[in-house]
């Protein structure tokens, strides 16, 4: 006599057997004590599993989770703020350098005797720039360009210092 397989037992429990298969299985179960015992045990396990209770999560876990979330949100926010600070610091630094270079160029202070090719080129270019501005817009415009660049430099330095203080804070 061929006993029912584990697969057939489980399909019987889950009501997945076709009518014909079910009929054959029932006929066998009626005469086979081994299989009817097996089925009864499996049905008991199935019923037992439906009775199982869930484990209780520890008390106060909600608060702990919400605290973790709040902490991470704060850290994400401060990271973003820090990044913004660094970017603005960098851009202000560039602005300050441009302001300084612009001011110096308009003043042509760098016209000192040097062998360095770069500085010679700088001297030459700033002198040319000064003469172009002076010729095109007059001496007054040149003065106002100088003043604008100086102001630009001072304002950039001021904000740069403020940003630095904010980051340190």
């Amino acid at each position: 006599m061929k006993h029912l397989s584990t697969f057939e037992f489980n399909r019987l429990i889950d009501n997945e057997l076709s009518l014909q298969e079910k009929e054959t299985a029932e006929k066998h179960l009626a005469v086979c004590t081994y299989c009817s015992d097996e089925l009864r045990n499996l049905k008991s396990v199935n019923a037992l599993l439906f009775e199982q209770k869930e484990d209780k999560a520890p008390d106060g876990i909600e608060n702990m989770i919400m605290k973790k979330i709040a902490k991470r949100m704060r850290s994400d926010k401060s990271q973003k703020t820090f990044f913004r600070f660094v970017v603005s610091l960098f851009s202000l630094g560039i602005a300050a350098i441009l302001g300084f270079v612009g001011y110096k160029m308009s003043k042509t202070v760098f016209q000192i005797s040097v062998d360095n090719e770069m500085l010679q080129w700088f001297n030459h270019t700033s002198a040319q720039m000064k003469s172009i501005i002076s010729l095109a817009f007059g001496e007054k415009t040149l003065r106002s360009f100088e003043v604008t660049m100086l102001l630009f430099f001072i304002v950039s330095i001021y904000f740069l210092v403020e940003r630095y203080k904010a980051i340190r804070h």
């Binding site: 199935n46 599993l49 199982q52 869930e54 999560a57 876990i61 702990m64």
Partner: protein
């Protein structure tokens, strides 16, 4: 607020009411904890991973596509986190085992005498803990979370037929464990 659906709570959280997330936590904490405890077989690990899962899910809420149920999406996070934790733990145990001569003693599991006198549900939990992780996952999701085989297949990323096979095997394995531990009288 308690009668809100998962989707309504998620919408509220995404609109900036982060505190509403605690409603989802209280809705799923016990079930997710049960699942984690059965996979990890350790209460402290389960608690730690549970917290991480909820935090992870909170920050991933924007990416939650409403095609599937929130529970399916969330249990997927839980299952994957548990598997990751478990693989790390197994690696650690393997390393520790190499330095210990008497290996057999560590892996031998026996029913402590006092547990036989404990409640039926505790005995059942004990028997389930003896099952391999994939069996206890399927059993927990199917019986405790009342999930269909289709839903379970999405969570553990396998076919529906495979879930059915796992379910059949886990029932049979549980029956064997109950019989091996002589718990038939108490449980069956």
């Amino acid at each position: 607020m308690k009668h809100l659906s998962d989707i309504e709570i998620i919408d509220s959280v995404l609109q900036g009411n982060a505190n509403d997330y605690s409603l989802l936590i209280s809705r799923y904490k016990h079930k997710a904890f049960s699942l984690l405890k059965r996979i990890l077989k350790n209460e402290m690990d389960a608690e730690e991973v549970l917290q991480d899962c909820f935090v992870k899910a909170f920050f991933a809420l924007k990416s939650f596509k409403r095609e599937a149920k929130f529970s399916t999406w969330f249990y997927r996070i839980v299952y994957n986190s548990a598997v990751t934790k478990l693989s790390g733990k197994k690696r650690k145990i393997e390393q520790e085992m190499l330095s210990i001569d008497n290996e057999d003693n560590l892996l031998t599991l026996s029913v402590p005498e006092k547990e036989l006198s404990q409640e039926k549900s505790e005995l059942l939990n004990f028997a389930i803990q003896e099952l391999p992780e994939n069996y206890s996952v399927v059993i927990t999701l199917f019986y405790l979370e009342s999930m269909s085989c289709e839903e379970i297949s999405k969570i553990i990323n396998t076919s529906v037929n495979n879930v059915k096979v796992l379910l059949h095997r886990s029932r049979t394995a549980l029956k064997e464990i109950i019989s091996q531990k002589h718990l038939e009288r108490e449980l069956l």
